[in-house]
């Protein structure tokens, strides 16, 4: 199925059988669960998924149950991209020997922020440098959730986690979120994009593009975690919208190094008065609650300033001045 034939309507999603099945053990309102269910709707044919250790791996493979209606492999925490490299290389040689009957098999590697920004980055960087044909999907819930909410390179500045607790000593995480998607762009790979489940059509189109492109593709998906963010489970999708509207998590894609804003963020760039204040996104999340106390004011201002700076940098990268 080519991208044109699948219109990516809600009806298409509803009528395509789930490949990430019900009965998984993710918490109620789990953002990553919605993300996985949805991205699997954009697959185009035979697909093999490999996944790093983390919440989504655990909740979908508790023995003797599996939530995967496609071949699925888990080995270790740091190995999603190494697994994908091996699978892709094996498929190539088996096809050469006439042992694979399919014209093409897509390979998707899935990992959380811990499994991507931190422990998985060398495997990812190597696989991309070697040019394996696979799609790496990072579902970013901004901490090591499966082991009890420890901070990662993807945790935003100021967020309280169990290893960056907000109190009298530190005001939450001291460091800034690592620009992982930009680091992937620096690999000069064919396709890099960011996505958010609220903008589901944009997200599914990017999954499909990532599969269609020859060579490695990287998709960074924003995935709210009500358990770790101390947020209302009903609002997981709403936060994925607010993160885009406040430019905390802008949507863009880079095709062969050419960076362009995706529609939801482009509309904000063209009409800057639409850009919401970061407080709209931060409020209601328990991990940021200390920022709304009198002593958190400076931190709040700093988060706004850094968000604005990063947004401006992105605009100039995309050739848009403001």
């Amino acid at each position: 199925m080519a991208t044109e034939e699948w219109k990516f309507t809600t009806k298409d999603i509803a009528e395509k059988p789930d490949l990430f099945l019900s009965g998984h053990r993710a918490c109620a309102g789990c953002g990553p669960a919605t993300v996985l269910r949805m991205i699997m709707k954009a697959t185009r044919g035979p697909t093999i998924v490999t996944e790093a250790t983390g919440c989504m791996e655990v909740v979908s493979s508790i023995y003797p149950y599996t939530s995967w209606a496609v071949p699925w492999l888990h080995t270790a925490f740091e190995t999603a991209a190494a697994n994908a490299s091996g699978i892709e290389a094996a498929l190539k040689i088996l096809k050469k020997k006439g042992k694979v009957k399919y014209e093409h098999v897509d390979v998707i590697a899935l990992a959380g922020d811990g499994g991507t920004y931190d422990i998985g980055i060398q495997a990812l960087s190597g696989a991309v440098e070697r040019g394996h044909d696979f799609l790496f999907v990072l579902y970013d819930n901004e901490a090591y959730m499966n082991t009890g909410i420890q901070r990662s390179g993807g945790t935003p500045h100021g967020a309280a986690t169990t290893t960056s607790p907000a109190g009298t000593v530190i005001p939450g995480k001291l460091e800034y979120k690592k620009p992982i998607a930009e680091i992937m762009v620096a690999h000069e790979m064919p396709y890099v994009a960011t996505a958010s489940p609220y903008y589901w059509r944009d997200m599914l189109t990017k999954v499909r593009k990532g599969l269609e492109v020859e060579g490695p593709a990287f998709l960074h998906v924003f995935a709210p975690c009500p358990r770790g963010w101390r947020s209302d489970p009903a609002k997981s999708i709403e936060y994925s919208k607010l993160a885009v509207e406040t430019c905390v998590f802008p949507l863009w894609e880079s095709i062969n190094g050419q960076c362009q804003l995706s529609t939801p963020s482009k509309l904000i760039a063209l009409a800057p008065q639409k850009k919401k204040l970061v407080t709209e996104y931060l409020k209601g999340q328990g991990r940021f609650s200390h920022m709304f106390k009198p002593q958190g004011r400076k931190l709040l201002e700093e988060v706004q300033r850094v968000t604005d700076e990063r947004w401006q940098r992105l605009l100039s990268k995309c050739g848009m001045k403001q």
């Binding site: 509803a14 099945l21 019900s22 998984h24 109620a28 309102g29 919605t34 709403e238």
Partner: protein
């Protein structure tokens, strides 16, 4: 299913999961149940797309959606995202 699950000594070294998780019902986790007003509902299917648990099904033959209480965990995402506010979350009494 009457077949006994294999213990750790009998399974393949790689640990192959043999059953679909659809055999594992998560519906009893919930404390709130989604109730939909069929008059307000426009069948836009956004709730079907956003549900983390695949617990809302589109039935083309009926032209309508169906909530699957066997899996619904009562998160309220469907109610929060419904554009016509057709879904309310009802507190489950014991």
């Amino acid at each position: 299913m009457t077949v006994k699950d294999k213990g750790w000594k009998e399974i393949a070294p790689a640990g192959v999961c043999s059953k679909a998780s659809t055999d594992f019902l998560t519906g009893d986790w919930k404390t709130y149940t989604p109730l939909r007003d069929p008059v307000k509902c426009t069948r836009c299917l956004l709730c079907v797309a956003f549900c983390p648990d695949g617990a809302i099904h589109w039935r083309p033959e009926k032209g309508d959606i169906e909530f699957d209480t066997r899996y619904c965990k009562g998160c309220g995402i469907c109610a929060n995202e419904c554009p016509t506010k057709a879904i309310t979350m009802k507190f489950e009494q014991e």
